[in-house]
Symmetry: C2
């Protein structure tokens, strides 16, 4: 296997396993077997399980942040930014559900994973809060924008959890459900 292919494969397999079965329930051996490699190879690339979690969180946040950045930057006429963001989130929920599920999982297990998440998310959050508050906004306004963003983020993750739950209950989310969730997320980001 080429040089860093192994690392990428490990990250992908770990993301899937962490999202599907949870971090604690996933052993290093599980991930290694899924990749087709020995556990010790995995420990070569990530010096501990916690380092692996940190790596997965960082990679997932990178992918998620990039997708949102691109959605914000895409200049579709007459479409407010928050519509672009919400639609991109819904697309991600369909295309890469693991990314959103991982966020729930990380916040569930608490430290030190949440610390890694906080580190990975902080710069994005600061940037978004500054953009939302507008240039020249005071510290308290930026703080309010931050809070609004965190609430919206929690709403997104809760929506992903809800979709997961429905699937598990054998009641697959239908189009009407999706439409309602979209309107709800839009209102959570409304000015």
């Amino acid at each position: 296997m080429a040089r860093s292919d192994t690392r990428e494969s490990i990250l992908a397999a770990a993301l899937a396993a962490f999202a599907r079965r949870g971090v604690e329930a996933t052993s290093l051996d599980d991930v290694a077997t899924a990749v087709g490699v020995r556990k010790q190879t995995l420990l070569y690339w990530f010096r501990s399980k916690d380092a692996l979690v940190a790596g997965v969180v960082e990679a997932a946040m990178g992918e998620l942040g990039d997708a949102l950045d691109q959605a914000v930057a895409s200049p579709r006429s007459g479409r407010p930014v928050r519509v672009a963001v919400v639609d991109e989130v819904l697309r991600l929920g369909a295309r890469r559900p693991d990314l959103l599920v991982l966020l729930r999982e990380v916040s569930r297990i608490g430290p030190p994973a949440t610390g890694h998440l906080a580190v990975a998310i902080r710069p994005r959050l600061d940037g978004a809060a500054a953009a939302l508050a507008g240039s020249g906004a005071g510290a308290s306004e930026r703080e309010r924008a931050r809070r609004r963003l965190l609430e919206a983020g929690a709403r997104v993750i809760a929506t992903a959890v809800e979709a997961e739950l429905l699937v598990e209950m054998g009641v697959a989310p239908d189009r009407a459900w999706l439409r309602r969730r979209r309107a709800d997320l839009l209102s959570a980001l409304a000015p």
Copy 2:
């Protein structure tokens, strides 16, 4: 300790631990220590960890169902049943958050815990669906009522997750948030 006090203490400690740290991350020793008893005593009352999970799920569903039954039966004038149900759920979320968190946790870890949950919830769900559809309703109407109830239940759990997330993010849910969630849950149960 009196006869069945031990069993009750084990169930209470296990519920708290399962909700706070997760089922996989909670060892039998953890629960036993919290109760002040040896692991083998715990295994006397519940023949395996899975049996303990089943016991906790059953007890939690009993408490939750009883609270909702009582809310439905309480004849407060001019207050529609769904308002009573939603308010009782919110009260439970504040008073016994573990009950709702456990539901999320169980559905997260999947079988066999979800099987226990399905067994514990089925009679309540059937009864509620029949009541919602009204007497003399056909099978398809009852099925629709069932789906509406499951969707509402998923919404409740998602709301509990959202509250958990906000707390973890250091953004405690405030009164305005609670008001919005209440309205949202009411509309999920709207006719």
